[in-house]
């Protein structure tokens, strides 16, 4: 019971404060919370959801999945070969340092302004943390584990699938988490730039047409989306890396 109080306490207080403090608000840019909530229900109907939010999510998923697969695959190949890694690492670090949204104009040149462009933007932007983290994770696999695998004749695909990848997975997971934040940002930005539907597009439309409560409701929805995706990620990571958390807990206790 106490835990529930802690978890809900401050959010409820803040929410109530926002509601009450903004109740009589005349400000154009900060309408009363009651109005925002009202427009939330009216704006985000099932129709609107399917027309805008779902396409955004689909593009996000596609781009993220491509980045994850490519990033891990390339990361394993590069990470396993010392010479390739040394040669290519500065190039990769450079690409990672370029702020991803800046690539939107570039990719628009190549890929136009359709769905493909958005997926490419998302994929191209968030592949770098996955790639670099995979390279690092593979490189840093415990040498004793590598020796054990060699000593017992575990080679080839079995070695990669049963030893290298699991050993690198905590680092890879960290990369995937960073990639998720970047993917969400790029999803919104690519839609703000050039789109005909989508969550980011809708919010910008509201802003441009000065539909303020609706704009706020969109921002809140976007925030909720970020929160839910982050939660889902943590749940998935908690299950997949259960062994790792158990190991760290055991080490902490000793």
């Amino acid at each position: 019971m106490k835990r529930v109080a802690y978890v809900l306490g401050l959010p409820v207080v803040l929410f109530a404060a926002w509601y009450l403090l903004s109740a009589g608000s005349e400000s154009f840019y900060a309408p009363p919370l009651s109005k925002i909530l009202e427009s939330f229900g009216k704006t985000w109907t099932l129709d609107r959801f399917t027309a805008d939010v779902v396409p955004s999510l689909l593009r996000l998923t596609a781009g993220y999945a491509v980045a994850a697969v490519l990033g891990v695959a390339a990361g394993v190949i590069i990470g396993l070969n010392r010479w390739v890694r040394a040669t290519i690492e500065p190039v990769l670090e450079f690409f990672r340092a370029v702020p991803p949204p800046v690539l939107v104009p570039v990719i628009i040149l190549f890929a136009g302004i359709g769905d493909g462009m958005k997926v490419i933007v998302i994929a191209f932007g968030c592949v770098w943390p996955v790639l670099l983290n995979t390279v690092e994770g593979v490189r840093a696999v415990d040498s004793i584990q590598i020796d054990t695998a060699r000593a017992y004749g575990i080679t080839g695909p079995a070695r990669i699938g049963r030893v290298i990848l699991p050993a690198a997975s905590p680092q890879i997971a960290a990369g995937l988490r960073q990639a998720l934040s970047i993917a969400i940002i790029l999803m919104v930005i690519s839609e703000m730039f050039a789109a005909s539907n989508g969550l980011g597009f809708t919010i910008v439309q509201f802003q441009r047409s000065f539909a303020i409560p609706e704009m706020w409701s969109g921002i809140i929805l976007l925030g909720l989306l970020g929160f839910v995706l982050s939660l889902l990620f943590r749940l998935a990571e908690g299950r997949a890396l259960r062994w790792y958390h158990g190991l760290r807990e055991a080490q902490r206790r000793s």
Binding site: I144, D147, T148, I154
Partner: protein
């Protein structure tokens, strides 16, 4: 049968050359339990890795069961000192013991039998679903031994396996090794820095010099084959042998690369 002849290993880094092993020659006959002792820094781990095929020697040969070793040889199973890092934490105990068997393309039914027998032999039946990090140090090392045993090797290589384990657990594990050795009739090469352990366990003890390493001395442990922690260690012959080994190791520490006469 393990034959090491004139084994030589030189490490080169830049302009520097370090001769870790100068000229090592010794033999372990099939079914023998031989212990290797030496002062710290005498290249024990280098030697072991050359024998296990994990490191290429600069000169000399290692022959296992008549074939020259040029990579991890089949029929050889290794138990590492760092059990915590050698067992895979993302796999359960059962999966850890079973993994090398999958590589050997053994049928599932046979694998299950081998795993069960191996865990039974190290007194860990019932821990199959646990993860290594949920077990104590001694138990983890038993899992590593079970993994080696399940592999059905002809030769067992053990690299200071009990160095990181507390004294009471070490005593139990030493007896376990002897029991397994007698039951499975494998050849065992056991590396340790603990002189008492070497004499307690081995049929023969090979003493190494300091780096650059050669064989300093060899003795046969003529204690009865039935040994136990209490009585064997109190046996006067044990003390004599132990003193001899200790003296040799001390001498080795003082003169690096001394070529001792084999006895």
């Amino acid at each position: 049968m393990l034959e090491v002849s004139s084994l030589n290993k030189v490490y080169r880094s830049g302009a520097r050359e370090v001769e870790a092993l100068r000229d090592l020659t010794f033999t372990v006959d099939s079914g023998e339990l031989v212990c290797l002792v030496g002062p710290s820094g005498c290249g024990k781990t280098t030697l072991l890795r050359c024998i296990a095929g994990l490191l290429e020697p600069s000169g000399g040969t290692v022959r296992l069961d008549g074939r020259e070793v040029s990579g991890p040889p089949p029929g050889l199973a290794m138990v590492f000192q760092e059990y915590g890092r050698s067992l895979f934490p993302w796999m359960s105990v059962r999966d850890n013991v079973e993994l090398p068997l999958k590589q050997k393309k053994i049928t599932r039914h046979r694998r299950a039998t081998l795993v069960e027998q191996a865990l039974d032999a190290v007194a860990l039946a019932g821990t199959e679903s646990a993860y290594p990090w949920q077990l104590s140090g001694g138990m983890q090392q038993r899992v590593a031994i079970a993994r080696a045993v399940a592999y059905e090797p002809s030769t067992l290589l053990m690299d200071e396996p009990f160095a990181a384990v507390d004294a009471q657990t070490r005593a139990d594990l030493e007896d376990l090794v002897r029991a397994l050795w007698q039951r499975l009739e494998v050849t065992v090469l056991f590396i340790t820095h603990d002189i008492d352990e070497a004499v307690y366990l081995g049929q023969r003890v090979v003493m190494l010099s300091s780096s650059p390493t050669v064989v300093q001395d060899e003795i046969t442990v003529d204690l009865p084959p039935a040994r136990d922690q209490l009585h064997t260690r109190a046996d006067p012959r044990f003390t004599e042998l132990r003193t001899h080994v200790y003296a040799q190791i001390q001498a080795a520490k003082l003169q690096p690369g001394g070529a001792g006469a084999s006895s």
